[in-house]
Symmetry: C2
Subunit: 399 residues, 2 copies
DNA sequence: CTGTTAGCGCTTTCAG
DNA sequence: CTGAAAGCGCTAACAG
């Protein structure tokens, strides 16, 4: 690395940008006409004047100052886009839709990445407010009505993405969580798994997670025959009834994975490991040794063991599970447990994991459309736009 | 989906935000004092006045308008961050560093995602200019000096990330490409591979790709014994000399993968397949049928076959290769070819692919620091900051 | 210590 | 068709 450091501070004499006044002078006319030209009011300009202006602008390489325009007009075409976590492929994809829509509607998105920090979130929201954005699209984490106060309180329209915010009434667009979770669960059930673990991050605060988890439990309860009682929701809730390998009812569990806390994750995964070993009929002795069960190294899972599947509530959770399983059971972990995930990251295809793809692009696009309408003054009651997910079956669940 | 559409357009009567004038009136003083308060010039305010102002601000929930401040001051603390492709994990990681640095330096990054569209790139650069950002950090694709003209021409400082821009002299921070490529190549060589394919996107335009490819060729040429002549660089260049399985010199090839063109990719991959099948001594009758060379279809890799490795110039290329190989050779493709990639995406660990991790966070952080210095007027000659990559050996190359 | 006075660059009445 | 004048919300000399 070569980093010279001749710190010779001397406030650069930037070749001052041309202003509307300069152009007016250069074109031998008044600022008003220039302004008219800039705003496309061509019909009100004589061809001659128009030509002179055009020339002057070119000669001076003039570019109108958006800030100034915004100040005067009271609208700057800026909207804020608050993202909880760019590390999640979901977010990036939604963003693509947002960008496309903004482009189409002449808006400029101010992208703010909270990087999973509630504090950042607050800071950005506040910042967006001071920059007088015309609206905000929010996909955040700990957002409570209170956090959104500075913006919503200022009368700045907001539309929510993926999750609702408790006290707040606002448009929201996202996945049809209930349907998606049900779709996934049914697929697993139909594929004949006897035990399904729904892994999800702490969901008390996040509506989408809540809905997914609830729908999973319901779907488990509604298996084929009679309806089952809903299991209690807790660290590790239990849903449905025990099914003995064959055709009985499949068993359902909820596993909370607090990705923000390594120790907790560790504990949850241990819980899971125990279940897998049990279901799979294979004793597994910790990090050193392994599987000293069935004599022959034949198949990893004993013949009559229960088939177990993991249902990840989103990509980050799925990745966490996959990494763990791979570390524990080796490259061949999928022969032991199936994995299904909501979200469809690139490694899913590579790894053969079944997923439920969210219509991310459209989610982003619609969000901007909603926001745009609000900005234009539409007064409709808060709307919810729930888009369907698409099941992509891969090797993991279709052996 | 439920989307009501009672489009009752009625330009919302937003509860107008309080202005500095309102506060002044409310506090029974002049705007100047308010301004002073806002700018922390507390020492110049009597405790009494100060208290009144404080109260007034709170009462009115006043928030200074950044646009107006910027207009007056001539600086708005905004910097532009132009990204070529958020889909690439590298980009997101760099962004984290950028955000952290901005936070620390009191800057607000305007993130612009070109999504691999040269046109977008131009548009955004232009836009950033009109918003009068104080500087830009550029990580772009087709950027030629010309595209950057609007900004650099305006005297707006710019710092490049990852790649240089031909005609432009500006600070740049990125990976030490030569060292990284050499590191990777040497690792492969030392691991005993007999044939190495360096896969890279078209590199004529992108300095970092160029450097990586060149360094790869050099490293191949500099193998153990005598130096070998540099192979020609072309669609499929050849480097180094043929080595017969055992201890001879390893053979090197460059494979260009134009990810933007499916057909081209197809062709390049076919080329690669042939090589793999040949090296691997195994007839593989793919869906089209091919390789009618070696008779027996015995084990995937014959005993005395050459060991072949792929060296991907970055994550997108690596992903493309991995997906293809998996599709062609099944889940067990890694027993046939080894894969090493510059960049360390999450699926690398999951999949056991060896990588060279870039110090992404630091790259982003340094870029902002450089830019900040420039904004403050530092006049030093253009600097290059080359950070080292870290080799992360995984199963793929360490059997 | 505090207020008055000019604008920053642009849009928008309101008269020509 | 065209321009002069009055600000948008805020800061920065200058005087008190």
């Amino acid at each position: 690395m070569s980093t010279t450091s001749t710190t010779s501070t001397t406030p650069q004499t930037a070749p001052r940008r041309a202003t509307i006044t300069d152009v007016a002078r250069e074109a031998g006319t008044g600022k008003t006409s220039i302004s008219r030209y800039l705003n496309g009011e061509m019909s009100v300009l004589s061809p001659d004047l128009r030509a002179r202006i055009e020339a002057a602008i070119a000669r001076l390489d003039y570019q109108p100052n958006q800030m100034a325009r915004g100040l005067k007009r009271g609208r700057n075409r800026l909207i804020g886009m608050l993202l909880a976590d760019l590390t999640n492929p979901y977010t990036v994809e939604v963003l693509q839709g947002v960008e496309a829509a903004c482009h189409a509607l002449g808006l400029m998105p101010l992208i703010c990445h909270a990087a999973n920090e509630v504090e950042m979130e607050r800071r950005y929201l506040q910042l967006l407010t001071t920059y007088r954005v015309e609206g905000v699209i929010v996909n955040a984490l700990g957002v409570r009505e209170e956090t959104l106060r500075p913006v919503v309180g200022s009368g700045i329209p907001a539309v929510l993405v993926d999750r609702l915010v408790d006290g707040l009434v606002a448009d929201m667009v996202g996945l049809d969580n209930r349907a998606a979770a049900e779709l996934g669960t049914r697929h697993l059930l139909e594929s004949g798994f006897d035990e399904i673990w729904f892994a999800v991050q702490p969901f008390e605060q996040v509506s989408s997670r809540q809905l997914r988890e609830a729908a999973f439990r319901e779907a488990m309860g509604a298996q084929a025959g009679q309806a089952g009682q809903a299991g209690q929701a807790g660290q590790v809730g239990q849903v449905g009834q025990v099914g003995q390998g064959g055709k009985g009812r499949a068993r359902g569990h909820t596993l909370v994975l607090n990705l923000a806390d390594t120790a907790e994750v560790e504990r949850s995964l241990a819980e899971l490991d125990r279940a897998i070993d049990a279901a799979t009929n294979a004793g597994h002795s910790g990090r050193g040794g392994n599987l000293a069960n069935s004599g022959g190294a034949a198949r990893p899972a004993a013949p009559h063991s229960r088939r177990i599947a993991l249902f990840a509530a989103n990509a980050p959770v799925a990745l966490c599970l996959a990494l763990h399983l791979k570390a524990r059971y080796g490259a061949d972990w999928q022969s032991r447990v199936a994995l299904l995930s909501i979200d469809d990251p690139d490694w899913a295809e590579l790894t053969g994991v079944t997923t439920i793809r969210q219509p991310t692009y459209e989610i982003g696009y619609r969000a901007v459309e909603f926001l745009h309408e609000r900005i234009e003054g539409v007064q409709t009651a808060a709307r919810d736009c729930l888009l369907p997910g698409e099941l992509i079956v891969r090797a993991s669940t279709s052996r």
